[in-house]
């Protein structure tokens, strides 16, 4: 079992407010790893430090055996990370196809491969028939799916999904979980998720974050039984 990504003592302070405190996280290659926790627990900040959007106050990030703590975001993406935004941020003025093509071209692939990657990604999320539409005209749920398609088109080794199922219908969620199942084994997935049904269904490992600290980590079963987690999170959620 190789570790694809690990953080050691990762900490972020905003104007004296401790958002993330001393987090050690290890992602096993090929796993679907869920990151859960109440609102404001520091999940998005933690992930922001992993993919280079936020500079950490202290600690380190290692990806594939290489220290990437000071690497700018676009270079981390070049190493094989992909990040889909929590707030839908597709390019509203461009076509669906162009959105995904931009994602595919961000990787060192050429010509036909781009077209193939675009078609495959759109097909997987079920947006093939809307490829020519302007992304801003899509429904909210479809924009979320487009966001995921962009992540897939990057063919990442580590796919980070920030609340991907928020606002999706039940049918779309089922499609999403099937899609994640399809990735298992060859793509490592870090999934920030509020929908516990999705977490229990797809996650191999679960990390619970509370007040910026790791409260618990384990298999979904371990977490499900964990009293501290129940008290902090499940009981109120």
């Amino acid at each position: 079992m190789t570790v694809l990504l690990s953080t050691r003592g990762l900490t972020k302070r905003f104007d004296g407010l401790l958002a993330v405190s001393d987090v050690d996280l290890d992602l096993t290659a090929g796993d679907v790893h869920a990151l859960i926790g109440p609102n404001g627990a520091g999940k998005t900040t933690l992930v922001g430090m992993i993919c280079g959007r936020i500079a950490p106050t202290a600690g380190s990030v290692t990806f594939d055996g290489r220290d990437i703590t000071t690497l700018p975001a676009h270079k981390r993406i070049g190493l094989g990370m992909a990040y889909t935004f929590q707030i839908t941020s597709v390019f509203a003025g461009l076509s669906v196809r162009e959105n995904v093509a931009l994602a595919a071209r961000g990787q060192p692939v050429q010509g036909d491969q781009v077209d193939r990657a675009v078609c495959a990604a759109l097909d997987k999320v079920g947006l093939s028939d809307r490829a020519q539409e302007v992304a801003g005209n899509l429904s909210y749920g479809h924009q979320r799916l487009l966001e995921i398609a962009m992540g897939l088109a990057q063919a990442p080794r580590l796919l980070i999904l920030d609340e991907p199922t928020q606002g999706l219908s039940d049918g779309e969620i089922a499609r999403f979980t099937a899609l994640i199942e399809g990735l298992r084994g060859h793509t490592t997935v870090l999934l920030i998720e509020h929908n516990m049904r999705v977490v229990w269904e797809v996650a191999d490992r679960v990390t619970v974050l509370n007040f910026g600290e790791v409260l618990a980590e384990g298999t979904p079963e371990d977490i499900h039984e964990n009293r501290a987690v129940q008290a902090a999170y499940l009981g109120t959620g």
Partner: protein, 315 residues
């Protein structure tokens, strides 16, 4: 070639054919105007790369236009260059100046970027005035006919001048059309829409913006150098704030982020001001009114409206 690509080539090629044929039928006055408009439109095309496609609103492009004009003009006047290397000197000056300003100004965004470009352009304009011994300041200097012989072609002759302006414009138009349809141009558009997201797709957005600003500044400088050479005059007023506002005005009027917009905007604005300057000395009033009306009622501009209503895929 897809059907859309064929239509796009037909439209833009059609305009170039029209402009080429126009020189044989237009009366002398409009013939001269159109030559001037094509050079100014080339300037606007350069501006549009940065503002229309990349979403960076510069208030300092007169610096690049003037860098081209003075790089060329001083090269001829004091460096003893012939027009071809002088033009090259102007273009290189524009590339260097825009690269330097980009390195500084791109550390800022939004309103600060606008003010920073405005301030450095103003410093450039004042520098032209300060070295009045060489630049002749506000008064400027005239390039003699003998200094304007490009490869034996007399650029002060109206027919040659029109053809030279047409060549520059055609080059700039084709370059801009190719650029914005190429993957590089698509990334610029994406940066305009959401820079953060582009970065998270693995692109070095800073490098892209830097390149966009240098390309934009270099095209502007080429237009400035050509303007000085074709019309035989180099003056500080081309480096003033007004010449930073004008390309913004043309691009807004024609349609920011459209390939044809800069030309359409420059054409309309030129004749609007031309007509009104017959009525009043305060012709910049028209520019002011058009700016306010456009921001209020038609932020897309003329070609932008056309695209919105009739042709979604128009580049």
């Amino acid at each position: 070639m897809s059907r859309d690509t064929a239509r796009i080539l037909a439209l833009h090629g059609g305009l170039l054919v029209l402009l080429f044929v126009a020189q044989f039928v237009l009366p002398a006055y409009h013939h001269g105007n159109l030559a001037r408009i094509m050079v100014l439109a080339s300037y606007a095309i350069g501006y549009n790369i940065l503002f229309g496609y990349t979403g960076l609103l510069s208030l300092g492009h007169a610096l690049f236009f003037a860098a081209g004009m003075y790089g060329m003009g001083l090269g001829i006047q004091h460096g003893g260059l012939s027009p071809a290397p002088a033009l090259l000197a102007g273009v290189v000056a524009g590339a260097v100046v825009s690269g330097a300003l980009a390195l500084l100004a791109l550390r800022t965004t939004g309103v600060a970027f606008m003010i920073v470009t405005l301030m450095f352009a103003q410093a450039g304009y004042l520098t032209i005035l300060y070295f009045g011994d060489y630049t002749r300041g506000d008064e400027g200097f005239v390039l003699q006919t003998a200094q304007r012989m490009l490869w034996g072609i007399d650029l002060s002759d109206p027919t040659n001048r029109y053809f030279a302006a047409f060549t520059l414009f055609a080059l700039c138009l084709c370059l801009s059309l190719w650029l914005v349809r190429a993957p590089f141009g698509r990334v610029l558009v994406a940066i305009r829409e959401n820079e953060d997201r582009v970065q998270m797709l693995g692109y070095d957005t800073h490098a892209h913006k830097l390149a966009a600003m240098v390309i934009s500044g270099t095209i502007s400088a080429a237009a400035g150098a050509a303007y000085g050479l074709l019309f035989g005059y180099v003056g500080a007023s081309f480096g003033s704030v007004q010449y930073s506002i004008l390309p913004l005005l043309w691009v807004l009027l024609g349609g920011a982020g459209t390939v044809l917009g800069p030309f359409i905007g420059a054409l309309f604005m030129f004749y609007l001001i031309d007509l009104s300057s017959g009525l009043t000395a305060a012709y910049m009033l028209i520019a002011g009114v058009v700016l306010v009306v456009l921001t209020l009622f038609a932020p897309q501009g003329l070609v932008g409206e056309l695209r919105r209503r009739f042709w979604k895929g128009l580049p």
